[in-house]
Each structure stands twice: as structure tokens, then as C-alpha cells.
């Protein structure tokens, strides 16, 4: 679907802005919202550019920069932190050869931090796209990442 086709699915009411931004981001192969898309959304809703941009920048789940195919969000809230999520983050950074906030060269993964994922009983936790991974260990990290890489190779 083109940007306009996505946007035209929504009534031109300002309360639809978040839905439109999600739809635009999800439809982009690089998991982000382009400036052209932001402009089209502003035009559709009859609001100024900064209104749309301010909202998109307020929420961490929106990105205005290209990202990988898979978005890894590691929980950085207190319970996970008590259970050594920093080791998990280090393991991910090593496994993916990137720093937090970056995207792998092959465009497969982006590593981000997140507020509490609500999985404290099985912390530390992370999400990859819409899927939750709990009770993380460095070994489990390597396993999970490998499974995504294998899938990509198919």
C-alpha cells in the first residue's frame, strides 16, 4: 500500500494520529516513519508539521530513522536491572556487534531499551517485534538471535 492509501484508511481526525503513525511505521520495510510520510499525515489531518513530529518524537516506539527488520527491546526497568539485565544487554551488543540504539549492518536487527514489559515474575525480559522472551541468559540470547538469523537465511 502506498503512503496515501494507508493514510486514507483513517478519518481526518486528529485523534487518529497515533493509529496513522503506527500504520505508516509498520508498513515500512525499515520499520520507521519517513519525512514524506509525516508530511502526508499532517496534510491529511490538516495540522502543522511540528504537531505530527512532536508526537512521533515523544513516543519511543516510533522511529524517524531507518531500523532493522527485527526490533529488539530489552527491559531496562528496576526488576530486570536487579536481575542483571546489563549482562544481557552486553551479550546482545557482542552477539550483534552493535551498540544499543544501533542497527546491524545486514539490516536484520535494531537494539533498543524499553520501559517495563510487565514480565517481572520471569525477568530479565526482552521483546523481539511482538514476541516476549523471558528468563534471559547470555546463552539464551545467542540461541534466540541465531534462530532469527537462520530464518532470514531461508
Amino acid at each position: 500500500m502506498s503512503t496515501q492509501e494507508i493514510i486514507q484508511q483513517f478519518e481526518p481526525k486528529q485523534h487518529n494520529l497515533l493509529h496513522i503513525l503506527h500504520a505508516l511505521q509498520d508498513a515500512h520495510p525499515e520499520n520507521y516513519i519517513t519525512e514524506e510520510a509525516l508530511e502526508a499525515a499532517a496534510g491529511h489531518l490538516g495540522v502543522t508539521k511540528s504537531t505530527v513530529y512532536g508526537v512521533a518524537r515523544y513516543y519511543t516506539m516510533f522511529s524517524l530513522k531507518p531500523r532493522g527488520k527485527h526490533i529488539i527491546r530489552v527491559c531496562a526497568s528496576p526488576v530486570c536491572e536487579l536481575l542483571h539485565v546489563n549482562d544481557i544487554i552486553a551479550a546482545l551488543e557482542e552477539e550483534l556487534s552493535i551498540k544499543t540504539g544501533e542497527t546491524t549492518k545486514d539490516g536484520l536487527f535494531t537494539l533498543e531499551l524499553s520501559e517495563c514489559l510487565g514480565q517481572c515474575q520471569e525477568a530479565p525480559s526482552m521483546m523481539i517485534n511482538d514476541k516476549i522472551f523471558n528468563n534471559l541468559t547470555s546463552a539464551r540470547i545467542r540461541e534466540v538471535i541465531q534462530s532469527f538469523k537462520d530464518e532470514a537465511r531461508k
Binding site: 490538516g46 502543522t48 508539521k49 511540528s50 504537531t51 513530529y53 512532536g54 515523544y58
Partner: protein, 908 residues
Amino acid sequence: MNKQVTITIDNQKITAPEGANLLQVAKDNQVAIPHLCYHKKLTPTGACRLCIVKIEGQRGMVASCAVLVSEGMQVTAFDDELEEARKYLLDYLLSEHNEAFDGSYSDEFRELVHAYGLDKAENRRFPSIWKELGYPKDETSPVLSYDAAKCIKCFRCIKACDEVQGKNVLSFTNRGIISYIIGGFDKWGESECDGCGECIQLCPTGAIVEKPHRGEIHMDNGIRKVRTTCPYCGVGCQLELLVQDGKVVRSNGVEGVSPNDGRLCVKGRFGYDYVNHPDRLTKPLIKKDGKFEEASWDEALDLVANKFSEIKQKYGRKALAGYASAKTTNEDNYLFMKLVRTVFGNNNVDYCTRLCHASTVTAMLRSLGDGAGSNSIEDYETSDCMLVTGNNMIETHPVTATFVKYAAQRRDAKIIIIDPKWTPLVKDAHIWLQPRLGTDVALLNGMIRVIVEEDLIDRDFIEKRVEDGMEAYEALKALVGKYTPEYVEEVTGVPADLMQEAARIYAKAERPLIATGMGYSQQVTGTHNVFCLINMMLITGQIGREGAGLNPPRGQNNVQGVSDVGASPFTYPGYISVEDEENRRKVAKVWGVAPEELDGEKGLSTVEIMQAAYDGDIKGMYIMGENPMLTDPNLNHTEESIRKLEFLVVQDIFHTETTPYADVILPATAFAESEGTYVNSDRRVLRVRKAVGPPGEARQDWEIVAEIARRMGKPLGNYQHESDIWDEIARTAPIFAGISYDRLEHHGIQWPCPDKDHPGTATLFEERFNTPNGLGKLHPVDYAEQSERATDAYPLILNTGRILYQYHSSTMSRRNKALTDFANEAYVLMHPGDAENQGIINGQKVKIISRRGEIEDIVVKVSEEVLPGELFMPFHYSEAPVNKLTRDELDPYSKIAPFKLSAVKIEA
């Protein structure tokens, strides 16, 4: 509603209206509670918390900006605990703040920091952390810079843009401590910002500051502030000019006074640099052997006086004529008019109003007896319905438009736009009717028929206030009978249901205003268009009270005033006819001349003067501050006419397209170098004050005019100061009788003001119209097809108009970098369908040809702003003189030229 209550602040008893804002009440009573985020013009934010107070019966400290006063309220504004809390809050803000200060702006935050002793590091408890926060600077705007490290996130700029200017261009980005203000996608220069600078004016720190002259300005180093009136459009915004080293270096809006209450547009705030431009004329110039040579004033003035006298002697007194100027003061124009009438000895004096609102004024004079706007600018904010006809007010009267947008955005007023071209106000409009060019009479007659058919008329009003009452109405009713919705849709292209809804909303509204512009006036049927508006207004009784009436916003700073002081071929100061014996006697008495010396025959109008020059009847001409070689219609004809003159004097501040044809050029002063008054669109007489000296030997216009008269042997009077001239105007024109300079010190006064104790008149026609019998008059008029229409040879219809960033022939506006940075290139708008048909792409340069002339190298902007078959071009640019294409076939009543409709063809 406005019940008065008594409250106590720190033991001081204060009376205030119930429900008033506590912080504002305190401020108004000299209790200076510190605050940063609050501003009188904005809704309270409660972000800075500095305005905390204690209120008996309420827990803790509350932000006084968010409290409404009620009877018996006991307030503590200052005690040790409150002061300690304020200091803590300031200290906290300071830790995230870059304190570097270059002295180029006023800084409320810095003043408070000093007042609380926090400028000394030892008094602070928080370390400075702003450097670690990575705040950006945005320098992308042509007119302002934003420094997030100096921003305290008080919301004032966001609200200034949204609530005051109705633009909502600014927003926050990010969250928490690293949030900051953005325009557009974090690039101010690529946002919708149009540079009005309201955000700068309301910023309490140095976060948003003007770019021009920033490096030179030192606020505490001998800066003078001079209050005056803006030299651009007819809103009459009150400016405070900052003068340093004899040069205007900044312009702010004056808060708290009408008409603008501190608001400005980009021209008012950034358009003053032309005053100090090196191109200014500084010495009289005399053409010798085809070349201009500098001359002394004596030499130039003697030559002018001798030549004019010679022409008068040789060809008779009708052989001379003058163009007055809508840009100069009332005093300048009054003396100019007096020179033409008493020294030239005829009534051949006119000015650009003939090219602008003459038709509106003619229709209003015939129907209502006054040609000026009937309401105050404030009414635009409180009206519940605005019918905006042929009026791109966001670009032409940006500050008036802020009131209109406020009404639409915050008071649910319904805006109805009639315009063949899209204008930015359409975004706020309830209905946009888009008739084909030249079909307005049919559209309005259709609306009147709806009102008649649905019985939405005001019988009582018609019977009491309209000449011949219901009989006249029946005649109108009979005429509009054939304008059925189907017929009107066929002629105009406007969907019948939209036209019907618009008519109903207007007729049923409580306080409907009509704001009519050039789109209605600059047509062959200009007077008819406005007759139709007045017909509709009179049968619905929608005039003669606050918020209801007819208003033509005037295009230039003093168009209104120049008419008012009588620079017209038909009327003396105060709209009294030159053809009336009794008037002539009265005026002659004030002027101390014999009545028979005043010509009892009306003079020639702007375009007629040029035609008479062409025919050899006018031999000598005096042009003050006008540029007919760019702004008159059918320029090729104008050029031939001007060339035929034996002697032409042009008085201006720059060389213009007209000066090359002059025999003598006289250098005049610009607005910031002049004293006097202007009259704005809502009839407000406003003071103009001298802020800086003139360049070189330039003189104020009236002094030059008076010298020429003296040297022609007929002195105009003994004037020591501009106020002497004004006092004579007040003696001549009854509408100004009660106005004097001392009354204009702080506020303008709206005419008519018949005596010294009269407060001025906000609303016209409340009791009676200004016609001889006091009644309004209906003028039923039929739609007639235009003589100029699209043909196979000239298949497109060209419309012309203005843009926000340029002004008139752009001799002033184009000499400001800030304005040309925004817009500096001519273009023609073309509908995508037409572009495709003609194989023209966006950005391509074309030639445009009409039956009268052609212009080349015009960039096409493909745009849905215009209808298929129609084009639009701004007229400001001398390299793209669109008036080579326009017609001088005049509206028979007002002699206005149809700038809005020319058949053309395009060649790639």
C-alpha cells in the same frame, strides 16, 4: 457578569471583576509577583510556578496565574517562605540554562536571576548541567534563531503562535529534561512559519531572538524606543521602533493598544530595513540631456515651480494634475491636495485608491453614505459569521486575519469565503464558494434569492431604514427571481447546496461581518459586486450594530486617510462634494481663498489622468510616492501617456519604474523619518512619529509641496509643525473636528469625531445612514457577461493579486533581506489539468500574452489553488510586470480597472 469583588493582597485592599485572573489583578495593581510563563494575551499555563501565592483557606502554595478572584479572597504574595521557594525554582531552572548574554534582547528570566542574587555562584545550590544535555540551536529560519539551551519551556511561544496568531506552527519534541521547541520537522526554516515573530516578542528569555542586526544591538547602550504606525498595509499596527546610532535596528508590536495589541506580521516586524537602504534618494535630481544630475533644492524647486506655472499659463489650469500617495501621511496628502486645488487650480488629484477600493467606496457612498469600514477590528474576533469576499486577508491583512482566525478556531464563528482562488483562510472556513472569475453578481443574486424565498429578511429593518422600504425590496425581489440555484450553479460553477447554506448562515447570524477585498473591487463590475453585498446586507438588517456591517480592509497604510483628507477628484476633506456651491464656500473660507478660485467641476481620476495625458490634455504632472509604471493597468498605454507629458515631477524615496520618465526627481522621507498621522481601515487616526533623521537632503513630502506652492506664488499657509496642518484638516473636515495631536498620544481615535469630548465612533450607521435622508438604498443589479472572456486565441483567464512577503510595487518590501529571503520570484499559478493540456511542467518558464502586451520568463507553479481555465500571478515584481497584460476598460461608476480578469494565452 462583571460583578466587582474585593480581595486583599498582602494587606492591600483591591477591587476587581469577579473571575478575573489573580496574577493579572495583582499586576494591574502594582503588586509585582514574579512570573515567566504567564502573559496577558495567553491562556494561563502554570509551568514556571514562580507566581505562587498563599490563599487563606487553601492548602500550600498555588500558582496565582491559575486562580480566579472571588469575594473576600485573602492572598499572601510575598513572605520568606514564598520567596525562598521562588529562589529555589529559579535556581533549578538556571541549572539547565546557558547564561551567556550578548545584550541584544530583553531577558525577563535574567532579571529575576539577578533580583534573587542567583547571578552569584555562591548563592546557588544546583550545579549547571545544561552542557551535558546536548540542546540544539536552530538557525534555519531567515528571521530568527532558537537556542534550546536558553529555553525554559514556558509554552509562551507555542501559545503565541497558536492562540494569538492562529498558526500553531510550534510544538515540543522529546520528553522531560531534553525536550525543546520545534518548528516543522525540527527545522524552523522548513516549517509553515511565516516569520511574524509573535514568538520572539513573547519569549521571556533569549531563546528566540531576531536575526537582523543581532550583532549590533546592545539594549542597555543608548537604545531609543519610538512608537509609530506601520508603513505597510491598512491595519495600522502600532510599532515600537528600536533606534541605535541613528538607525532603526528592531521593530516590536505595542502591547495593549488597538488595533494590533502587540501583534505584527513579517512585514511589520522585519520590513524596516528599506529605510536605511543605500538606494535611497538623497538629493534632488534634474534630467539634463536625458541624464539625471544632482541639483540643489533651490534649483530643483524653482524649476518645478516655473515649469508648472508655465504650463498653466500656456495651456490653462486644467493641464496640470497630481497623484497623491497612500503611503505618506494625511498632512502630506492634505497639502498636496490643497496645492492641486488652490495652486494648479483644478480638481485633478487622485491616487491609487482608484485602482483598489474605489468601487467599494462608490457603492458604499451611494447606498450607505460613507465609504469606510463600518466596524472596528475587534469585531472580527466577536462576530459569529464572516463573509470574506475576494479577500486573501491572511496574506494582505495578516493581523486582521489573526482576529478572524481566533473567532473561527476558539469561538466557533462560521467563515464563508467567496474566492475563485484558494487562500490560506480556507483552512479555517466553514464554507468556501469558488465562483468562476467575474460571476460574483450572479452568485450574490442567487444568495439574495435564497434569503427572499426562505423569508430570512428583516422586514422591520427594511421598513425603517431602507429608502422606499418594502417597495424597494419588491423591486429587488423581482430582479433576483431568475437567479435560481440551478441557474446560478450553471453560471458560477458553485454547487447550489453550498450557495444556499452560505446564504442561510449569513442571514441568520447574530453578528455577521462582511470583509470585502480586491477580488470584488478590481473588476469592471466592481461597483455592482458591492451593490449586491449591500443589498443582501440591507434586506437582512445585518449592519448598524457592533459586530455587523461591511468592511473593506485597506491595502496600504494610509489609503483611508488620503481619501478622508480629500485627495480625490470628487470630494474635499471629509467627503464633501467639490461640485456643491455651499461646500466650496465653506472650504474656501477655511483656506482663506476666494470661492471662485476653487474649480466647481470635478477633476479627473487616476486612469483618466493618464488617458488625458495621452490625449494631450494634461501636460504637467506631479506624482508623490506612487509608481504608475508598475501598478497602472495596461502599462504599455501608461508608458505612452507618460512620455507625452511635457513635464513630470516624481517625488519618492527610491528610484522606481516611474522615475526614469521624470524631468525632476525629489527625494522624500520614509515613514520612520516622518511626523504626522495615518488613518487605518477601521477609521482610526494614528500617529506617525519621527524615529531617525532623513538620508542626505531628503525632506518630508509636505515641506516640498509647500515650497513648490510658495514658489508658484500661492503659499498654502504658515505651518510650523505637522500638528498645524492637522488642525487645519480638523477645521475643514467635520469628521475630524474633535481630533487633535494631544488626544492621539496613546490611542488612535476612530472618525467621525465631531467634537473635543467625543470618544470617536467604533460602529457606523447605528441610528441612521449617512445619506441625505438617512436611509440605506438598494441597488438591484443584473449579472452581465464580461466583455473580456476566454476565446480560442486567448483561452485562459488571468487573475492578479498580492502575497504576504511583498507589498505593492515592492520598492519598499524588496529592500529587506528578511522579506526577500522568504519570497523574491514572480510566478504564475496554473491548474494541473491546464498544465497537462498544454504540456507544461511545474517550474517551467513561460511567456504570457494578452491582447495588450506580453511578459516573459514567468515560472509556472502547477497548483490546485486555481480553477481549471484560470491563472493567478502576483503583481509585485518589476521584472514580471503583469499589468502589461491587464485592461484599462473601467468600471463605469468608480473608474476602477479590472486587474482581476484578463484573457491570456501561454507559450512555452
